[in-house]
């Protein structure tokens, strides 16, 4: 784990967030759709407690609503009525226009299980029957009334039953809409999120792929892989877990508040008082959770590291009989994880039930204040009931946001690292106006080249040579002499500090890197097999005809073994777990080099690990390959370079000697020493 991964990070950073979201901008229309759908979900969800409120107030408690009476034939069209003793009674709430106050009101009153139809509107107070059911006394006033039979009550109730049925249907409709809209909304946002993540990952791939080699010297591969995989995954989680709920949660929060205030300002104000408590608790939780989760993650990483090492080193542990000692060490890391887990348990054990407690306390408060409101007639019972539901819906989004906090936090840290990578300057770019590569000849010139990977640490000093087209030149020298650096400069993996590198007369900095590198084919000791088919591995994007691929394979003697593969040239191969032997891989790389028809061929220790059987084959393939081509050999085994036209001896970044094998031996200088040492090195019984 490097310090970069330890960054705790802010939970929210507007600049980063805008950039993360910019990946979703191309899908603006779909985002709009998702928001509209979320609106549907919110309205549908909010309508459910409201429908229950109507059911309670207008229907279940509908009997106590004041009515006016009509002659049966005068009842307005479409208004439910109940006929009692030849007159039709209609509820005030059912009329679009309330009749003048002078029109007589009627109310059904229930006294000890007996129902009477009272003339007048019922004020609050305890009713009492008088005159044998012909009058009702409330708060000292007497109202005329008539007793109602069970059938008459039931007639008055008919509209409530049908009303409830309608509400049931509406409620079901709300469920269907919420279900459909919810599913499509979540799916759409997920799709957008995945698209954005895909685009971001592609940006990272593109960036890394086009970074100069020097960049990889400074950034360990493992870290770059983490950027492209785990870090982006953290962002993906943010998109899928946080974004998806964010729109809905936000709308729900706003919706609940609006509906509450619309229903009862007093109860809404009371309800809002819990918000500071909830927010304070949430903030406190957040600050604690941050540390706790970090501890859990870090201690789990330690367990993983310990296990990985001890499993692969178990042989050492056992041969040193250190099982007990290692168990003690493991108890430490395991115990730290348990400890971190326990803190997490404690935190959740306090926070989660506490949030539930706040909700219950709010319900208790609603019972108290709402109950008072019902008694004084300010609110109806339906409203109180709806509030109990709405308060719950108020908690949901807040809870959600709290839970997603740690996701948001790691997403921020990850995005910071990703953007840092995306913004890393490309230090070695193609020239703005690249020169065309001249016709193929194969001349390589180093003009007084000075080169250092790190400022001040010279790797090449004043290296100056010319390799003529078609010449065979070998570079030798002890490890660290600068052989590899010369090859890297030829392909312009790095830029020289002083002097110039010219291929066929052109400075390598003045042409496109891709074009330059196509001129040079490298055959290395470890042959890299790209995932794909054998054919693709020979062709390597040159779009050769099948016949040309085959011709190249034949020329180096690779055709025979390729034809023996189950799918011939279309046999799938890959870098790891390849079925090809090292000799076959070598022949494949020769065919690849021949097919590319480069003007410069670099043999990097190419024949170092070949068994005797294939050696003959390889030698003749090499002859085919090097014919009419500038060939540059890098070798540690001096026996392989003896046939070169010229040998350039390097030491500590300088050219020490130059000449043919015999000339150099006669000189009795560095080459002579190296040659003698070689035999010592070669003596191995293995």
């Amino acid at each position: 784990m490097n310090p970069e991964e330890d960054i705790l990070g802010k939970a929210y950073d507007g600049r980063l967030m805008r950039r993360i979201l910019s990946y979703a901008f191309p899908y603006g229309r779909w985002i709009l759709l998702a928001i509209v759908l979320a609106l549907f979900v919110t309205v549908a969800d909010l309508s459910r407690p409201y429908l229950i409120k109507i059911a309670i107030d207008s229907h279940i408690n509908g009997l106590s609503q004041p009515m006016v009476s009509y002659s049966v034939k005068d009842v307005p069209r479409g208004v439910p009525d109940a006929v009692i003793d030849g007159r039709a009674y209609v509820r005030l709430s059912a009329l679009s226009q309330p009749p003048a106050p002078s029109v007589e009101r009627y109310t059904v009153v229930e006294v000890h299980g007996h129902y009477v139809l009272m003339t007048g509107q019922e004020p609050s107070g305890v009713p009492r029957l008088a005159e044998g059911g012909r009058a009702v006394v409330i708060a000292g006033r007497t109202y005329p009334a008539r007793p109602l039979s069970a059938a008459q009550v039931s007639a008055l109730r008919t509209q409530d039953v049908s009303g409830l049925e309608t509400i049931g249907i509406l409620y079901f409709l709300a469920l269907v809409i919420a279900f459909g809209a919810n599913y499509v909304q979540v799916y759409t946002l997920q799709w957008i999120g995945q698209k954005a993540i895909f685009a971001m990952r592609d940006d990272v791939f593109r960036k890394v792929e086009h970074m100069p080699v020097a960049f990889f010297d400074k950034n360990p591969v493992g870290r770059l892989v983490t950027r492209a995989t785990n870090d982006i995954e953290a962002l993906s989680e943010m998109y899928t877990d946080v974004m998806v709920n964010f729109v809905k949660d936000g709308l729900m929060l706003i919706g609940v508040v609006i509906v509450m205030f619309q229903m009862s300002t007093m109860l809404a104000l009371y309800s809002m008082t819990i918000l500071p408590v909830v927010i304070a608790a949430t903030i406190l939780y957040r600050s604690k959770a941050r540390l706790v989760y970090r501890n859990v993650r870090v201690s789990l990483a330690r367990i993983n590291a310990f296990l990985a090492e001890n499993i692969s080193g178990m042989r050492i542990v056992q041969t040193f009989h250190r099982e007990e000692a290692q168990k003690r060490k493991f108890a430490e890391v395991n115990g730290a994880f348990r400890q971190a887990g326990m803190r997490d348990v404690f935190l959740m054990a306090v926070f989660r039930p506490f949030m539930d407690f706040v909700y219950s306390a709010a319900v208790a408060a609603l019972v108290w204040f709402g109950g008072g409101g019902i008694i004084s007639g300010i609110v109806t019972f339906g409203v109180v009931y709806a509030f109990i539901n709405y308060i719950q819906q108020l908690f949901q989004p807040i809870n959600d946001i709290t839970q997603k906090y740690s996701i948001l936090q790691s997403a921020m840290a990850s995005s910071e690292r990703i953007f840092m990578l995306l913004d890393a300057p490309v230090t070695l770019e193609d020239p703005p106006d690249p020169l065309p590569m001249p016709a193929q000849r194969g001349e390589v010139v180093f003009e007084h080249v000075h080169f250092a990977y790190n400022p001040g640490e010279w790797v090449l000093r004043d290296v100056d040579f010319r390799i003529a087209p078609g010449e065979r030149v070998a570079f030798v020298g002890p490890t660290g002499a600068g052989k590899t650096s010369i090859m890297a400069l030829m392909a312009r993996f790095y830029d020289v500090q002083e002097g110039a590198v010219r291929i066929d007369g052109v400075d390598v900095r003045h042409v496109r890197q891709a074009e330059l590198r196509r001129r040079i084919a490298v055959v290395a000791q470890d042959v890299f097999v790209f995932a794909g088919t054998v054919r693709q591995n020979i062709d390597l994007n040159h779009d050769l005809r099948d016949a040309d691929v085959e011709a190249a394979a034949r020329a180096v003697g690779a055709h025979d073994f390729i034809m023996k593969l189950p799918n011939g040239y279309d046999e799938p191969v890959q870098e790891r777990g390849s079925t090809l032997s090292s000799g076959q891989r070598q022949l494949l790389s020769f065919a690849r080099a021949l097919a590319a028809d480069p003007s410069i061929l670099v043999l990097d220790e190419a024949t170092a690990s070949i068994d005797t059987e294939t050696e003959q084959q390889i030698q003749s393939a090499l002859n085919t390959l090097t014919m009419n081509r500038t060939t540059i050999m890098v070798a540690h085994r001096l026996s392989t370079v003896q046939g070169a036209d010229r040998i350039i001896v390097l030491n500590k970044g300088r050219i020490r000697e130059m000449g043919s094998h015999q000339e150099l031996l006669d000189r009795r200088g560095l080459y002579y020493d190296l040659y003698r040492l070689q035999y010592k090195e070669d003596f191995r019984l293995a």
């Binding site: 229950i52 059911a55 309670i56 408690n61 509908g62 305890v126 039953v161 509400i167 079901f172 469920l175 997920q190 698209k195 791939f205 792929e209 080699v213 591969v221 770059l224 892989v225 492209a228 995989t229 993983n304 990985a308 090492e309 692969s312 080193g313 178990m314 042989r315 056992q318 041969t319 040193f320 009989h321 250190r322 168990k327 493991f330 395991n334 404690f346 054990a349 989660r352 039930p353 539930d356 407690f357 408060a365 019972v367 108290w368 109950g371 008694i375 019972f381 030798v476 890197q513 790209f530 995932a531 390597l540 994007n541 790891r576 190296l674 003698r676 040492l677 070689q678 010592k680 019984l685």
Partner: protein, 588 residues
């Protein structure tokens, strides 16, 4: 389910925690069951006529009281049950590691480290979930569902209960079925993620090659393809995943819909009170969660079962190499006399005989060497002495006792071993050298490093002997690792020292210096050398030449040279090479 028996002793140890936790859980559930009753009475009170504010005060107070009870009992069960799951998680992981230490080295040759680690993290996590949320959910669901059903049917309305509850089992079925689908698709996503990671790793690691062959665009297309497949599988998962919440909401919603319409009508008809109606919807809300949870529970238990099955296989694995039930300890110190008697040995699972009728004796206190080509049996001989693999009974002896009869710990403690692969731990250099010994004093550590000719290298680091090795510290060169590894074996001051091709990355001058010190330090104690260079072994008291699983020649250097056999021809070649090079030195 039978795999859960593995857990019995672990859960048994925490039985009180679980008992108290479940009790607390039931208290919380009970309080929640009382709540609708309070609401019912409140509604009926407030709906009746002539109520004053003081009449409803008891209900508000009761609700608050219940909230306090629920809070404290929820806190209680979380601490107890979730705490227990953490404790058991620790115990299981501890025992898993202990089991790893018991299994023979050969076991680890056949298993991927990543897989074994997955057991210690992912599988244990699945088990922990089952022990924690699983047990809670099961107890919760069982209690809440039965008691709520009883209350609903007996105190409110059987017909309303029957109709309204009808959709709820669907919620359990849907979560179970979709949950399974989600899990399967999630695994596909995970697999593709590893594939993507592998490709990225391969590509980034080979970037120089990619650039050399100008394959950037090709490779990008391949990575994009992997990424696109990852996208596709994610959406495949989303199709089901996005369904589960809305669908269960819908199912639970229909129950409420029925309760509202039918329950409302019952109130109108006077069959139930408005309070009972409110209580009924509260109970319904109480039931909705356990019903959904049942579906999760089934999946959780299945997953934990699968994980336990994998864990059980490891827990039950019998170590290939185990101490004899009645070990024979030598009287007194181990002297270091080693004898092979007609040892014929083939590695488990192979038919090729790695050793054929090998007999020899290494006198206590002598220095012997094995030479021969790779794969001819030298390392096998060492493996049998160390009991990395078991020799046949009655074939390999230490101080006259069959190594299979010796206490395993004693055998290995008597041997200082320098392996060819130089495995070091990600600890400080000091800790690595002191690895085999408890409380090794600093001076001893430095002395060992000095003998192994690595002290100067170590002191070049800013933190000297306290330099961390590995990913979080410095990476040593192969030669430095080999020398630290030699110091580590020497630090044990063992009766027997084995150096298995331990100088391959060390230059000849340094090798000579180490050997010079070794001869002196090891004076009078058994030392076994395996090497490729004859110069390394020439001074040994006795040399065994191993060829094709047999000892073909043996004797002192001079005798072997005089004999004119295989050893002599090897030696001849070396002399020839020496003449050509003329001097010793560092290779090119």
């Amino acid at each position: 389910m039978r795999h859960f028996r593995v857990l019995r002793p672990y859960v048994g140890q925490r039985v009180w925690r679980y008992a108290i936790g479940i009790l607390a859980l039931l208290v919380a559930d009970g309080a929640q069951l009382v709540l609708p009753q309070v609401l019912e009475r409140f509604v009926n009170t407030v709906e009746s006529t002539g109520v004053v504010l003081s009449d409803i005060a008891p209900y508000a107070v009761a609700l608050l009281g219940l909230a306090v009870v629920v809070f404290s009992s929820r806190f209680g069960w979380r601490m107890m049950v979730q705490g227990a799951s953490r404790l058991i998680d620790y115990d299981l992981r501890r025992d898993l590691f202990t089991q790893f230490t018991r299994l023979a080295p050969n076991y680890f040759n056949h298993k991927k480290t990543g897989d074994l680690m997955a057991h210690a993290t992912n599988d244990l996590q699945a088990v922990r979930m089952a022990l924690n949320m699983g047990i809670v959910t099961a107890a919760d669901a069982a209690f809440l569902i039965t008691s709520t059903l009883i209350i609903m049917f007996s105190t409110i309305s059987p017909s309303l209960s029957a109709w309204a509850l009808a959709p709820l089992p669907l919620a359990a079925i849907v979560t179970a079925l979709l949950g399974r689908q989600i899990h399967a698709r999630f695994l596909e996503v995970q697999n593709q993620f590893s594939s993507l990671s592998d490709h990225v790793q391969e590509n980034f690691a080979g970037i120089r090659i990619v650039k050399t062959f100008v394959q950037e665009d090709n490779e990008l297309a391949r990575l994009t393809g992997e990424s696109r497949e990852y996208f596709r599988r994610n959406m495949h998962l989303v199709r089901v995943w996005a369904l589960i919440d809305p669908l269960t909401d819908f199912i639970v919603g229909t129950a409420f819909c029925v309760a509202l319409a039918y329950g409302g009508i019952l109130v109108i008809r006077g069959a139930i009170t408005l309070g009972a109606f409110v209580a009924f919807t509260s109970y319904l809300a109480l039931l909705a969660w356990p019903m959904q949870a049942l579906g999760f529970l089934i999946n959780m238990i299945q997953r934990a079962g699968a994980s336990l099955e994998r864990l059980e296989i490891i827990y039950r694995e019998t170590p290939e190499i185990a101490e004899d039930p009645h070990p024979i300890a030598p009287s007194g110190e181990v002297r270091g006399d080693i004898e092979f008697r007609d040892v014929t040995f083939a590695y488990p699972g192979t038919s090729r005989q790695a050793l054929k009728d090998v007999s020899f004796r290494i006198e206590a206190g002598s220095t012997v060497a094995f030479v021969g080509r790779t794969g001819n049996g030298k390392s096998t001989i060492l493996n049998l002495i160390l009991r990395v693999f078991d020799p046949p009974v009655g074939s390999v002896f230490l101080d006259g006792i069959d190594v299979r009869k010796l206490p395993l710990g004693l055998l290995r403690e008597s041997i200082g071993y320098v392996p060819p692969d130089n495995f070091l731990f990600s600890e400080t250099i000091s800790q690595n050298i002191a690895f085999g010994v408890d409380d090794l004093p600093e001076e001893r550590i430095e002395e060992m490093a000095e003998i192994a000719q690595v002290k100067d290298n170590i002191l070049d680091f800013p933190l000297g002997f306290h330099t961390m090795l590995g990913e979080r510290g410095v990476t040593l060169s192969g030669g430095q690792k080999q020398r630290v590894s030699i110091a580590r074996a020497l630090a044990k001051d063992p009766p027997i020292l084995i150096l298995d091709d331990s100088f391959s990355a060390v230059d000849t001058a340094t090798e000579e210096a180490i050997l010079d010190r070794l001869w002196r330090v090891r004076e009078g104690r058994t030392t076994i050398l395996v090497a490729h260079r004859i110069s390394t072994i020439k001074r040994s008291d006795h040399i065994f030449v191993v060829e094709d699983g047999r000892i073909v020649e043996d004797g002192r250097h001079e005798d072997l040279v005089a004999r004119g056999g295989l050893y002599a021809s090897m030696h001849q070649r070396q002399l020839l090479e020496d003449r050509v090079s003329g001097s010793r030195g560092v290779g090119a």
